[in-house]
Every structure is written in C-alpha cells, then in structure tokens.
C-alpha cells in the first residue's frame, strides 16, 4: 500500500496539521512503509471473529445524578491562550 502525497494532504487536513511540503513527502514514505508492514494482517481470515474494542468488558458503575461544584472560572480559564471575560476567545469562526 503506497500512500500518495495527495492522500497525505487529505489526512493532514482531517487531522488539522499544516504540514510543510517536505513533511508531506516524508510522511508519504514513512507511512507507506508502516502500511506495508501492517499488511501482514491480510493473511488472516477474521470474518468469524468478534472485534475487541475494550481491554476489559466489565460494565462500568454509573454515577448518581448529583451535581458537584464546578471549577471556579478563574481556574477553568487559567491556561487559556486568549480570553474575553470568562469566555475562551478564538479567531472568528466563519460558519
């Protein structure tokens, strides 16, 4: 499985990574090598096998519907790169 630079660019867009052209080239090559290695799985027939999505299947214990105090807003926003009042500020969202 060989990954093209166009595919790399598409994946980078999905992942919100602005890659440089050099990075695109390099990742196309390196990811292709990894995909070649994982192609090993193709030799296995798993049509009858259930997938494992969790390491433990133990049902979790749900929480009672009780509120606890939230963070004070000063703490909630303490690490914010930009804020206005108690809101996080981001470059304007155009739809």
């Amino acid at each position: 499985m060989k990954l093209t630079v166009e595919q790399v660019r598409h994946v980078a867009t999905l992942a919100r990574l602005s890659l440089t052209p050099e990075e695109e080239e390099r990742y196309a090559e390196q990811l292709s090598a990894v995909l070649e290695a994982v192609a090993l799985l193709e030799e296995l027939d798993v049509s009858e096998v259930e997938p494992t999505s969790h390491a433990t299947l133990t049902s979790s214990l749900p929480r009672e519907d009780v509120t606890r105090p939230s963070l004070p807003p000063e703490k909630a926003l303490a690490n914010a790169p930009a804020r206005v009042g108690t809101s996080f500020a981001v470059p304007k969202i155009l739809e």
């Binding site: 999905l14 807003p73 108690t86 809101s87 996080f88 304007k92 739809e95």
Partner: protein, 479 residues
C-alpha cells in the same frame, strides 16, 4: 408540472435535552443561563487526562423514551466517538452512540386529516451536547462558552415517513408531548432544549425511489418548521422543474427571510471517523432495570386523551386541552373525584381556571385552594345557592386568597334568595308599581318582559334565584 405532482418525503432528527441535574459524563450542573464557563470542570473542558463517567439517570431517561415510543431497548449498546474539530467541541470528538444505539425500531401515532398515522422511529441514542460559540459581528474573535458542553441529549430519528410540513409539525408536537409527559424534556424550542433537523426530499407522485435529500438545520419553532419545509419542498420542485438536480447538502433556515440557504460548502467532505469509545465499556441494560422503568411509565398523551373522552364523556376538544399538560390533566381528575358533572367541570377548567392562570399567573401545581373547595363551589352553583356569575367572582377570590368558598359567599352577601314567598312579595310589588307596563305586556308587547326581570333582580340586589324569579313572574303575568 405543478407542485402537486410531487410528493415531499420528510424524516426528522430531534435533539432533546434531558432534564437531569448533572451533565452526562461529569457532575457539573446542567442549569441554563449561568455566566460563560461557570458550569465547567476538567472533564467537560476536555482537559488532558480526564475520563467520562456515565450519569445513570441519562440511561433511565433513554429507556423511558424508548419504551414510551415502543422501541426495542437493546441489552447492550456501545458508545462511539465522532471526531471533528470545532472550538465548542472541547475534546475534538463527541461521545455519542453510532452503530449500536440503545433503542431501535419504535413508533409514534399522529393525527392527520386522513386519520391516525403511525410514524416509525428508526433509533434513539444518547450523546453529549457541544458548547456554544458566540460570533460577534463587529469583532475579529468568536467566544466559546462550554457550560452546555456535556449536557445530555437524546437524539430521536424518525424514518422518512412524513409526507407534508403539517405532518412534520404534528409529529414534533406529539413527540414533544410524550417527552414532556415522561418528564425527560421540557419541550422548550426557543431555549434550544428541543431542537429539530429535517431531512427533506421530493419525488414525483407514484415514484418508488426517494429523491436526493437535503438536511435543514437551525429550526427553533413549530411555525418555522412548517415554513422551512414548505420553502424547501418548493425550492426542490423548482430545481427539478427547471431540469436541475438537487444537491446533497446542509441548508440553514433563515427565520428573518423565511428561506433556507446553503451552508458555505465544506472544504472537505465530513469524515467523522467513528470508532468505539475506549473510555466507556459497552452499556448493559438488565431485565430488572427495564421492568423498573416500565413500571414507572406514566400514561401517555394519546392514551389519556382516549380515556378522558370515554371515562368522562368529554368532547375531544375539551379532552385535548385538559390533556395537553400532565399536571392539568391530573388536577382535573382530582377535582372530578368530588364533582361528578364532568362536562360542567371541564367548562370551568377551560373557561375560568385557564383564564385566571393566564391573566393572573401562577401554575396548576401551586393553586391556593383545594380540590374539595373547588368542588364545593361548583356544588353551590349547581344547587342554586349562588348564581353562575357570582360563582365566577367567588372562584376568582378563591384563586387569589385561598379562602373557603362559603366564607366568600357570606362575606360578599352573594347567597341567592330561593325563598318563594320572598320572591313573590317582590314580584307583586314590582308589578304593582308598574301597572302601565303590565297593561302593555298583556296587550301583546312581550318584549318588555325583560324589564320586569330586571326590576325584580334590582330590587333583590341581584340575589334572586333566576329560575324562581322567571317562574313567578310568568305566573303572575298570566302566562
């Protein structure tokens, strides 16, 4: 080809905010209207290292809705991550249910001009809401408030069974009534706690394959839903009529212009990369849990309506109004325990009680008088102790003060005179004083009868029992 040659096909996706105290995966309050980011914690802020812990009541509410909508409740359902970037989505993914939702294959009946129609429900699943972005027109920035992030939602998806905007509105009203009855949602479209997206397509009548569907978003009132769907149907028909092709797209409804418009086309197609949420094991629902919820299900609006018409013999119009809200229906049934003329009782509900609540405020659950007092007042009117008009005054006073009806009647001197002798004396006096009019009446000027009634009532300060006054007057006038 005119519009009528086309068949609209509509499916609705409703997002209903659940009436829990705390958010779906953390213990922050779901309260509406707090200052920005005041109801947030590491979990709903999506800080590094946090993990979701499911709110048990969300599951209970989902099962409640599922059973009420006659769905199959799945023994095992699975949480998934829906991945996309948006500033109000703190983790970069939404925790939702995807290919294994908690409820499937239900139905909801609605009324149409052709009679009852069953709309199939495809699925119901649980998910977390996103936060809110505020776009200030003047500024270069958007502001992000995550108070709403993590508020629990039910997404209820119908099959494309609806065939007109009116049916869509009927379906939404019926669904809202059910959810409000179940106590899982407040049914508030304006505040966004009951939101609707519509999938709309059109096909030529008689066709068997649906047309290309368009998703309409941002519709927040029943009126707008009708407008938006009707606009969109007409638009699609226009496109097809002029030889064009309907694009698969998402359109926003602009309430100010009453039209839908295309959302700026996405630079790349959506690819949400759903996969099972590793931080939450699959959800198991036990038979015991199902039974418990089933036991606690209230009577649903349609069933209650049918029962009100049969059990109380009420016209459908009255029953509909009484059953529109569960507390009103419950209250009616409580008073009906003590007053058996149900139609008269319904008249008082529809006339006086609802009017007072509307004009003077208050709610059915905080009335100042008891069901017995209400029934006693109606009894007094029934037995002619007071006139119907006086009854309304007394009722108003009870509504405002919570005083006993008997006390108000006494205080205001509203008790009716039903003593035949007393009334007869007044009638004699009035007829004696107005001998001229009596002559005219007897000569055939029947229309002045009302004058005699008025004079008697005036002399009795309005307290004469109208039936007796009439009876005695007519007798004395030789009728």
């Amino acid at each position: 080809m005119p519009l009528s040659d086309f068949q609209p096909v509509i499916g609705l996706e409703v997002h209903a905010q659940l009436l829990t105290n705390s958010k779906i995966f953390c213990a922050c309050s779901t309260e509406f209207g707090a200052a920005p980011n005041h109801n947030t914690c590491p979990v709903c802020l999506g800080l590094p290292g946090v993990l979701p812990v499911l709110n048990a009541r969300v599951v209970e509410f989902a099962i409640r809705a599922g059973l009420a909508l006659e769905c199959t409740v799945k023994k095992t359902s699975v949480w998934s991550r829906k991945n996309y970037f948006y500033p109000d989505l703190p983790k970069g993914y939404q925790v939702t249910q995807y290919d294994q939702p908690i409820c499937e294959h239900g139905k909801l009946s609605i009324d149409t001009p052709e009679g009852e129609k069953v709309v199939r429900i495809l699925r119901i699943h649980m998910e977390e809401d996103a936060g809110k972005s505020v776009h200030d027109a003047s500024a270069k920035e958007s502001l992000v408030d995550l108070n709403r992030a993590g508020v629990p939602l039910l997404e209820i998806v119908s099959e494309p069974d609806l065939r007109s905007a009116d049916e869509a509105v009927e379906y939404l009203k019926a669904l809202r009534d059910v959810l409000v009855y179940l106590g899982v949602n407040d049914g508030n479209l304006e505040e966004g706690s009951f939101r609707c997206d519509a999938n709309v397509s059109v096909m030529r009548k008689g066709a068997t394959v649906y047309g290309q569907r368009v998703e309409l978003k941002n519709i927040n009132s029943f009126r707008f839903i009708k407008q938006a769907i009707e606009y969109e149907v007409a638009r699609q028909v226009d496109v097809l009529e002029s030889g064009g092709k309907v694009d698969q797209e998402t359109r926003l409804f602009d309430a100010n212009r009453g039209e839908t418009r295309s959302m700026r086309s996405k630079e790349e197609a959506h690819d949400y990369r759903y996969f099972p949420e590793p931080d939450l094991p699959p959800l198991h629902v036990t038979d015991a849990q199902l039974d418990e919820v089933a036991q606690s299900l209230p009577e649903l609006p349609r069933a209650k309506l049918t029962r009100f018409t049969s059990q109380y013999g009420l016209p459908e119009y009255d029953a509909r109004i009484l059953c529109a809200e569960r507390p009103l229906a419950d209250y009616f049934e409580a008073v009906a325990q003590h007053f058996k003329d149900y139609k008269k009782l319904a008249n008082w509900f529809l006339g006086e009680l609802l009017r007072l609540l509307k004009d003077e405020g208050g709610s059915i659950t905080t009335l100042r008088f008891t069901t017995v007092q209400f029934a006693n007042l109606l009894g007094a009117v029934e037995q002619g102790k007071i006139s119907a008009n006086a009854g309304k005054d007394v009722f108003g006073e009870m509504f405002r003060t919570g005083k006993e009806p008997e006390a108000i009647i006494a205080e205001k001197g509203l008790a009716q005179v039903s003593d035949v002798g007393a009334i007869e004396a007044v009638v004699d006096e009035v007829l004696g004083k107005n001998a001229g009019e009596v002559e005219k009446y007897k000569a055939g000027k029947k229309q002045i009868y009302g004058f005699f009634v008025g004079q008697v009532m005036k002399a009795m300060k309005g307290k004469g029992n109208p039936a007796l006054v009439n009876e005695l007057l007519k007798k004395k006038l030789g009728e």
